[in-house]
Amino acid sequence: MKINVPHIAKLANLPLKPQEKDKFEKQLSEILSYVEKLSEVDTKDSETTSQVTGLENITREDEVSPSLTQEEALSNTKNKHNGLFKVKAILED
């Protein structure tokens, strides 16, 4: 076992059914074993690449443009109340 599926699922906010755990554990472990071949690549002097465009300093001017209306903003939610999105109570922290 390479991966603690319940722990990762919790971190990923994914509700799993009990029967899914074993299946995912097997599949994910297989994939992880495969991708581990990267450890053989010599990357001693290699920089990391997280973007490929070479762009830098792309910003926008501090200008305001129209927002969505309240109705548009709330148009896809199933739970709303007085112009606000509604969720089950959560503890402040």
Binding site: S50, N76, N79
Partner: protein, 475 residues
């Protein structure tokens, strides 16, 4: 020839000369959809009413346009489709996932807007592997799209429905996204042309993100020339996407007729154990010989780190996926996270794991370093050649269900395509023939960053010599 079978170029000529109207053209596409979508499952949403309205407006527009103004609307009255990953204001956008089955965007993706402004008529939203996760099209929560050449086979994914819709003449062109091969693979499985542009050349704004540093926004057309025409519209800097780059001022069609005489074109020195099907690889050998015949010089090239590209890709991509799919919590839109399918769950967990404390360096950071090496390999290669050709897929289309229970096996079908995404370079997939079972085979032409015009040049020369596009599936 039926109207819906036309290329964009021919359809424009017809519209301009008033040989037929946009309404007639659009109706022909809608009828084709009506006739075959049940069987092929290319569309998730068909916007018939709106399409006909838009076509009517386009016809009026054509009638009112002064001479010379026609060119200002390069897609005026042309029916196209969008992968259901593109936000379309007022039109349901599902990503083929139950999570978004009712989601109606309040805004248009930049590309959708650009195409609208060019006059295009949208006939609908096409099927895909949910969230663009997949190589076969089978991961759709709304059932798989089928290969029009043989409906027992997969059409390739993830942009399955877009490829099928163009191949089966339900529209003249369709948009797609390519994060690891999702345009090139289905293009090659459907005997059509698919462009994966240079990363950053087409705005990603409004297109549901899969893996942000790899997502490339492209399209499917019947011919290379159509692909270049379409790219003239979609490409260019967007103030809403900080990773986009400015465009050249000239049209991408400018080099089409120049031929490839004297070009240096690389091919993979060894196709390694990446493909066991020798018969299939034979088609690529034939394509190589034709390239040579057309006057190019063939040069064997070794992309040293190609063999670890899949491993590299399947770390970076799920990591970004895990973060990009975090917004789907069912609060502001859509359904809650229980509704993710298995493949999305796998990628979310895989990515969460590779980014998590204690594993980041061994997985994500390592993969970003290997990515640098792969990019360098291509930089080196392109010092020596104008472009590279290679197969798109290690195998011809496979049967529905064949790989679905083995995720790793499915991932390995991306072996020839993911390198372009890791390096951010453009790739053009185009047909090179059929297997003896009459399933399409394609190849891809890869070039350095911003070399799309050259890819079109090579592709067009090849296409003119082969005319595979004239072959139509027997529906």
């Amino acid at each position: 020839m039926k109207l819906n079978e036309l290329t964009i170029k021919r359809a424009r000529e017809g519209l301009r000369n008033k040989n037929f109207s946009s309404v007639e053209l659009t109706r022909a596409c809608l009828e084709q959809i009506k006739k075959h979508n049940k069987n092929l499952n290319a569309f998730i949403t068909v916007t018939e009413k709106k399409a006909l309205e838009d076509a009517k407006n386009a016809d009026q527009h054509i009638n009112n346009l002064a001479i010379g103004q026609f060119n200002n609307y390069p897609l005026l009255g042309i029916p196209i489709a969008h992968k259901d990953l593109f936000s379309t204001k007022g039109i349901k956008t599902t990503a083929a996932s139950k999570v978004l089955e009712d989601y109606i965007p309040a805004y248009d993706a930049t590309v959708v807007k650009k195409l609208k402004d060019a006059g295009a008529v949208i006939v609908g939203k096409t099927n895909l592997d949910a969230w663009a996760h997949g190589s076969s099209g089978e991961n759709s929560d709304f059932g798989p799209a089928k290969n029009p050449w043989n409906t027992e086979y997969v059409p390739g994914g993830s942009s399955s429905g877009s490829a099928v819709s163009v191949a089966s003449d339900m529209c003249l062109a369709a948009t797609g996204t390519d994060t690891g091969g999702s345009i090139r693979l289905p293009a090659s499985f459907n005997n059509i042309v698919g462009l994966k542009p240079t990363y950053g050349r087409v705005s990603r704004y409004g297109i549901i993100a899969m893996a942000s540093s790899l997502d490339s926004i492209g399209h499917f057309t019947k011919t290379v020339e159509d692909s270049a025409l379409f790219f003239d519209i979609t490409s260019g800097q967007d103030i809403f996407d900080a990773t986009t780059l400015p465009n050249p001022t000239e049209s991408f069609t400018k080099n089409l007729e120049k031929g490839i005489k004297g070009m240096r074109i690389g091919f993979p020195k060894i196709l390694k154990e990446n493909s066991q099907e020798l018969e299939y690889l034979g088609y690529f050998e034939i394509a190589k010989r034709l390239i040579q015949k057309l006057g190019a010089e063939l040069i064997p090239i070794d992309i040293k780190h190609e063999e670890c590209a899949i491993a590299c890709y399947y770390i970076i991509q799920p990591s970004e996926v895990s973060s990009n799919l975090a917004r789907y919590d069912g609060i502001r839109f859509g359904n809650n996270r229980e509704n993710f399918g298995d493949e999305a769950k796998r990628r979310i967990m895989l990515g969460t794991y590779t980014l998590s404390a204690g594993y980041y360096d061994a997985y994500y950071k390592k993969a970003m370093q290997v990515r640098t090496l792969i990019k360098k390999d291509f930089d080196e290669a392109f010092k020596n050649v104008d472009a590279l050709i290679s197969p798109v897929s290690p195998t011809p289309p496979w049967k529905l269900g064949e790989k679905i229970s083995d995720p790793l096996k499915m991932y390995l079908s991306d072996v020839f395509t993911v390198t372009a995404n890791l390096a951010g370079i453009p790739g053009l997939a185009l047909p090179i023939g059929f297997t003896k079972n009459r399933l399409p085979v394609g190849m891809q032409i890869l070039g350095p960053h911003f070399s799309e015009a050259k890819l079109f040049q090579i592709g067009h020369a090849y296409e003119q010599a082969t005319e595979w596009y004239s072959q139509k599936p027997n529906l």
